[in-house]
Every structure is written in structure tokens, then in C-alpha cells.
Symmetry: C2
Subunit: 124 residues, 2 copies
């Protein structure tokens, strides 16, 4: 794997972890939250985080791995991110429908928006 591909993979993982943390971060212990934030949000290296917290580089690495697994487990059980994506998509459809210079008549518009609103309620 090229250096560029490796850097892209790392970036993809950081984005994924950052989203997971937004949804489930509150469920981590205070210690895990601090270290994980330093890694994911403040973009510190494992060595920098190790020095800041008085633990080994390996200790930081293990903690980040454990946090990542914990957050992924929460998503596999509660599926909040997947639900959020669906809800967001349907809300954007509502905004789109209500914003276009009406090609469909008022009755159709009412039916379409009501259906989308009901779909969102079912999703939650």
C-alpha cells in the first residue's frame, strides 16, 4: 500500500471514529474520553498523548483500540448513525418538496410530506 493510500485510510478511520464519538462519546469513561479526543479531534500523535498522560505509547494505542471497539459495538446495537442518515435524507426530501415551485398540487404535496414525516417517526 502506498504512503498516500495509507494516509487516506487513516483519514477515513479518523472521520469514522469522530462520527462514532459524536454519537456515543458520552458513554465512555472520563479518562477514555480525554485520551480519545486527543487522538481523534486534536490530532495528537500516540507519543504526544502518551507523554501528556504519563502512560506508554502502547498504552495509548491499546486504549484507542478499545474505545474504537466500544463505540462500534454501541452503533451495532443502537444504530443511531444509520438511523440519523435515513432521517436526514427524508428531512432533506421534505425541504426539497416544499421549496420547489409547485409542480405537484397541494393534495399531492400534503400526501408526500405526511408520508415522509410518518416514515421518520417509524424510523426513530
Amino acid at each position: 500500500m502506498s504512503e498516500k493510500a495509507k494516509a487516506m485510510d487513516k483519514l477515513d478511520e479518523l472521520v469514522e471514529l469522530s462520527i462514532l464519538y459524536d454519537f456515543y462519546g458520552e458513554l465512555l469513561s472520563e479518562h477514555k474520553k480525554r485520551v480519545f479526543e486527543e487522538y481523534v479531534h486534536n490530532d495528537l500523535s500516540l507519543s504526544e498523548i502518551a507523554e501528556l498522560n504519563g502512560i506508554s505509547r502502547q498504552g495509548v494505542y491499546d486504549l484507542v483500540k478499545r474505545c474504537s471497539k466500544e463505540l462500534r459495538d454501541y452503533e451495532s446495537k443502537l444504530k443511531l448513525i444509520s438511523k440519523f442518515d435515513t432521517v436526514k435524507d427524508k428531512l432533506l426530501q421534505i425541504k426539497e418538496l416544499i421549496s420547489k415551485p409547485t409542480s405537484s398540487n397541494r393534495d399531492n404535496l400534503q400526501e408526500e410530506i405526511t408520508t415522509l414525516a410518518d416514515d421518520i417517526l417509524k424510523e426513530l
Copy 2:
């Protein structure tokens, strides 16, 4: 407290626990899930559950208390139920707006529904 008031309190608590379980039940262990469901959804008594699971009545009582605390802790951290209530309220407002024989004009309707959709997105 009268017997009736006690029964109402018990009912209120069962409804609360049932809602908490709908949102966070997946985060409980399989064993806890089974016992908790028997208590909250199947309305079995502590003694009946104890017999079914080969544990003491006190053991069931403690487990139900621990589960209740665990579920309330999840809500205090993730606030999914509180968010759901807000989102549901705003979706009902959208349905109400789009259903009434338009007193407001199309531009107002668009603005009001767009604002509600954006509010929901911010809430999630």
C-alpha cells in the same frame, strides 16, 4: 399512601421502564434482557421470575433495580428519549401545517416547514 396510589405509581414506573427499555434495552446483557422483559413486558411477579430463572426473589429484585439504573444512566448521557419527544413534536407540527386548508400562503408555509426540518436536524 393508599393501595390505589401505590398501584398507579407502580404502573407509572413500568411505563417509564418500558420506554427506557425500548430505547436502550439492546445495551443490556442477554440475561438482564430476559429477566427485565419478564418483569416489564410480561408483567410477571418477582416470585414468578425467580422460579422461572432459578434465582432468589431478592436476586430478581436487585437485577431489576440494577437494570433500571443502567437504563436511566444511558438516558442521562444520550438523552434519546428527550430528543425523540422534541423531534416527534416538530414532525407533528409539520403534518399539521401541511394538512390545514392553507390560511398562510405558500412562501410562509415553505419557511415554517423548512425551519422545523432544520430544527430537527440540529436536535439529532
